[in-house]
Amino acid sequence: MSHRGRLLVFFIGAGCVAAMFAVAFFRMPAFGGTMHLYRDLAVRAAVAHQTANVVSSVDFDQRGMDTFGEEAILLASVVGAAVLLRPSDEEAELRPKRPGRILPSTKLLGYALLPVTLLIGLDVVLHGQVTPGGGFQGGVVIATGLHLLYVAGSYPALDRVRPLAAFDIGEAVGGAAFGGLGIAGIVAATSFLANFLPRGSFGQLTSAGTVFVLNGAVGLEVGCGMVVLIAHFLRQDIIIAAKAEQAQ
């Protein structure tokens, strides 16, 4: 189909979809209205389980099964990307060259902010049930913070600090821990991912029962998964080259 034909089909389809959107939007409750039925139920359930961050309670306590599924998607995507970015038979690995000149201010900021960022990430993971945050956000912050070592230093420095096998295992352990806690919920209480640990009091670090532990498991998995993902992209870019190029 030619370009113009494709564009015509798209505009017809997009027009129909836009019309359906318009009909739907004018029949929906107005933006900013007061009727939110799920909100009332969710807040009541979160307060009953002594969780100050209602979003974490919904994620890990009330709809924990969905989060388990999303974790599985994350694990599968990381495995898929790692498989796709393997060096093939026609490729070999170069030794990375020494980095060019790095500005001293970049080095200073990078090395100074590296422990700070890792600590902030850990704080976000651990306080997920009390303040905005949690395993997903904190894992992303930790993974990004680790790569300050690459910005301030060099690729071999990052490679030394980041043994890929350990991070692979860490990701798998995080995912398995989530499932293990779910099964512990069956054993100790009534159902999969039931909140069976002591709830504590509102606003404390160890409140909300299993939400605290599940946050840690998800933080481990997301952090390790993102590090593995970026590692494979970096290797693909920096190290792997076709054997024909290398021979020249």
């Binding site: 990004t144 970026i230 992209f233 020249q248």
Partner: protein
């Protein structure tokens, strides 16, 4: 609807259109990072700090980084064999010229 919400929504719509309109993927990485920032501001205006935090980490740092690395890997294969050796090294970010950084 407050002025803040209306302007955040408008900014998101404009920058989103700009991301799609940027035809070169290496420039799209920068626009995508800025789009992530505007989305974060919108999510904060909609009273969603958790969502804003995850959008900031993912959309401003990780996805643009992977887009840039993917583009570099793809273009390295299309350039002449041998030039890969000169342009690829262990340092991030500097594309082709190894400009010597800070002139005070």
């Amino acid at each position: 609807m407050t002025v803040l919400l209306a302007s955040a929504l408008s900014l998101v719509a404009i920058v989103g259109t700009a991301v799609v309109a940027t035809s070169q993927p290496e420039r799209q990485a920068v626009t995508l990072s800025f789009y992530g920032l505007t989305l974060t501001v919108l999510f904060l205006a909609l009273q969603a700090p958790d969502v804003a935090l995850s959008q900031l980490g993912v959309g401003a740092a990780i996805v643009p980084l992977m887009v840039m690395l993917a583009i570099r890997s793809i273009e390295a294969r299309h350039s002449q064999p041998g030039s890969r050796q000169e342009s690829g090294d262990g340092e991030p970010g500097q594309p082709d010229e190894q400009s010597g950084g800070g002139q005070p």
